[in-house]
């Protein structure tokens, strides 16, 4: 999995596809002010961003924490380390009603089991709802994050099973059937969210174009367009100015390996 790459200045260390994905996702958070942290991969990406490109970013955890300063990377998104030293702890009612639905969240950072070209997300079931092949966790806060956060970032590994033509269940709305319908619905229903803006995978970085469909803008070092096409269920939009993703810096890798994920939970 690991690829060897020359870094910006001097030789870079080897890094895994997961490390590249986490680093790329963290960098997308540069300049963001308030980020709602989802469970799993978003958790490590956001915590890396806080230590690198977005030190002033406020971390919001659905468990009821604003301005968290986790001293370690929590396994769960509820953990005593996100409370000690935080700015505010609130009931979940207030967190969801006032912070999220009230419009204070700039970025909601989500994972997904299935995603379609328009960024609609399934985290509920694989197969039919009543008798699923796989029972997934369900919405948690994802459905309301997708509707109420100003924009949505997604981080997930790419595979033919996860990047699909049709998701089995729509847990969290993205750009629905395309930008036009999505804009109309958001306007009509007064949603605060503008929908998905980036999907970072283990192969590249997708942003959303004017049709509301995801477009590959960056290809990670070592990944190929053939690999991209083999791991999704539709004919993808590829940016005419497709660029290689800059490799992880030694400091980014050190933070992941030594501080955030010394046991390699997220990166193996």
């Amino acid at each position: 999995m690991a690829v060897e790459r020359p870094g910006g200045a001097g030789a870079a260390a080897a890094f895994s596809k997961s490390e590249m994905m986490i680093v790329a996702a963290a960098r997308e958070l540069a300049g963001q002010r308030v980020c709602f942290v989802g469970v799993g991969l978003p958790n490590i990406a956001v915590n890396l961003a806080k230590r690198t490109v977005a030190p002033d970013m406020e971390l919001v955890y659905e468990a009821g924490v604003f301005g968290a300063r986790p001293a370690r990377l929590p396994l769960s998104i509820g953990d005593p380390t996100i409370v000690t030293g935080a700015t505010a702890v609130t009931s979940m009612w207030e967190l969801f009603a006032f912070y999220l639905q009230g419009g204070l969240i700039d970025v909601g950072f989500l994972g997904a089991a299935q995603i379609d070209r328009f960024g609609n997300i399934n985290t509920t079931v694989i197969g039919e709802y009543a008798h699923p092949k796989t029972r997934l966790p369900g919405s948690g806060g994802a459905c309301e994050i997708a509707i109420n956060a100003r924009q949505i970032f997604v981080i997930m590994r790419q595979s033919a099973r996860s990047f699909v033509e049709r998701i089995d269940f729509r847990t969290s709305p993205g750009n629905l059937g395309g930008a036009e319908k999505a804009e109309r619905i958001r306007r009509e229903q007064g949603w605060l969210g503008r929908g998905p803006s980036v999907v970072v995978t283990d192969l590249g970085i997708w942003h959303f174009d004017e049709t509301g469909e995801m477009r590959l803008d960056f290809l990670h070092p070592g990944a190929t367009l053939d690999e991209i096409r083999a791991t999704l269920g539709w004919d993808p939009h590829i940016s005419p100015s497709l660029a290689p993703t800059p490799v992880p810096t030694p400091e980014e890798l050190r933070l992941i390996r030594d501080e955030l994920d010394p046991e390699g939970m997220y990166t193996k």
């Binding site: 924490v65 702890v89 009931s91 966790p137 309301e144």
Partner: protein
């Protein structure tokens, strides 16, 4: 002032949790009353409707033990680890013997809030353009009376019994929590009966010294159970850490029905309560869960006004 509600876990569960009840053991990652869940298993309650935002390992254990007929929830997983395998076994494929009623987090919180506030519904902006209202017809559209469109509503959830764990309470059940608050207040006020499990029983004067810290007043509490380590492998802010090792271990145990049964025998049926459980965990395991140092809140002054 009020007479004592202090009871053993055996007596509290025996008196207050009945077959067929809707039971909410609440606490969002923090303060999950594994002790109450285990006692419910031990007393072999049946046909329970188990409500919880995040069923977590405790409901996986309770489902494995056969106490439940239905789950009401919003996120069904082992956070940061993966699935809940005992629950998956009865909710996947042809054999879906466990009934599911599913919301989002805000939907579940809003259900408890509606229950606590005696409202027929609570509005929220979730669910538009998702399949959740199809999967759960109790999620319904409602039109604003101000002509500015529609939102979704969820119905009240009023558990027969809510169980919460807390750092401390007095004998009358006045309960204080710091750290994550989850939806415990709403779930307690919404319930017909409430069991509070605490790390420490304190004098009424400790509660009255800081009334803003009280999340549940004794008036809604039926029993106070003193059960140190009662939340393990969940955690208690300032007291002990989340035992992530157990959450990871449970993944392997719960994938194997025989190993799950064996675990229930070793850690639930064959023990007579939480003290025995803590002893079995052992001092070394428990000591490793203590915070690395103190983080005191500081003192505020309410002032004396005579």
């Amino acid at each position: 002032m009020s007479s004592s509600k202090v009871a053993t876990m055996r007596d509290a569960v025996g008196a207050l949790v009945r077959d067929g009840d809707t039971v909410a053991i609440e606490g969002f990652t923090h303060l999950i009353s594994f002790a109450a869940g285990h006692e419910i298993i031990r007393q072999r309650r049946r046909d329970l409707v188990l409500a919880r935002m995040t069923p977590d390992v405790i409901y996986d254990q309770m489902v494995a033990a056969g106490v439940a007929r239905k789950l009401i929830f919003s996120w069904l997983g082992n956070p940061g680890v993966g699935g809940l395998h005992a629950i998956r076994r009865v909710t996947e494929g042809a054999d879906t013997s466990l009934e599911l009623e599913e919301y989002s987090h805000f939907g579940m919180v809003a259900r408890y809030a509606a229950g606590a506030a005696n409202l027929p519904f609570m509005p929220l902006r979730s669910y538009f353009e998702t399949d959740l209202p199809v999967a759960n017809p109790l999620i319904r559209l409602i039109e604003s009376p101000y002509g500015d469109g529609t939102v979704y509503a969820v119905p009240p959830l009023k558990p027969d019994v809510t169980v919460i764990h807390a750092q401390r309470a007095d004998a009358a059940g006045n309960t204080q929590v710091w750290g994550l608050l989850g939806c415990q207040k709403e779930a307690a006020f919404a319930a017909d009966r409430v069991i509070v499990v605490v790390e420490e029983l304190v004098d009424e004067a400790v509660i009255r010294a800081d009334p803003n810290r009280t999340i549940v007043p004794g008036i809604v509490v039926d029993a106070v159970v003193v059960e140190p380590w009662g939340a393990h492998p969940s955690y208690v802010q300032g007291r002990y850490d989340r035992d992530n090792r157990f959450y990871r271990d449970w993944d392997a145990i719960s994938r194997d029905p025989a190993a799950t049964d064996q675990w229930l025998r070793d850690w639930v049926y064959d023990l007579d309560g939480r003290a025995a459980y803590a002893e079995k965990l052992g001092d070394e395991r428990l000591r490793a869960l203590l915070p690395s140092g103190p983080a005191p809140s500081g003192v505020v002054d309410y002032g004396e006004y005579r």
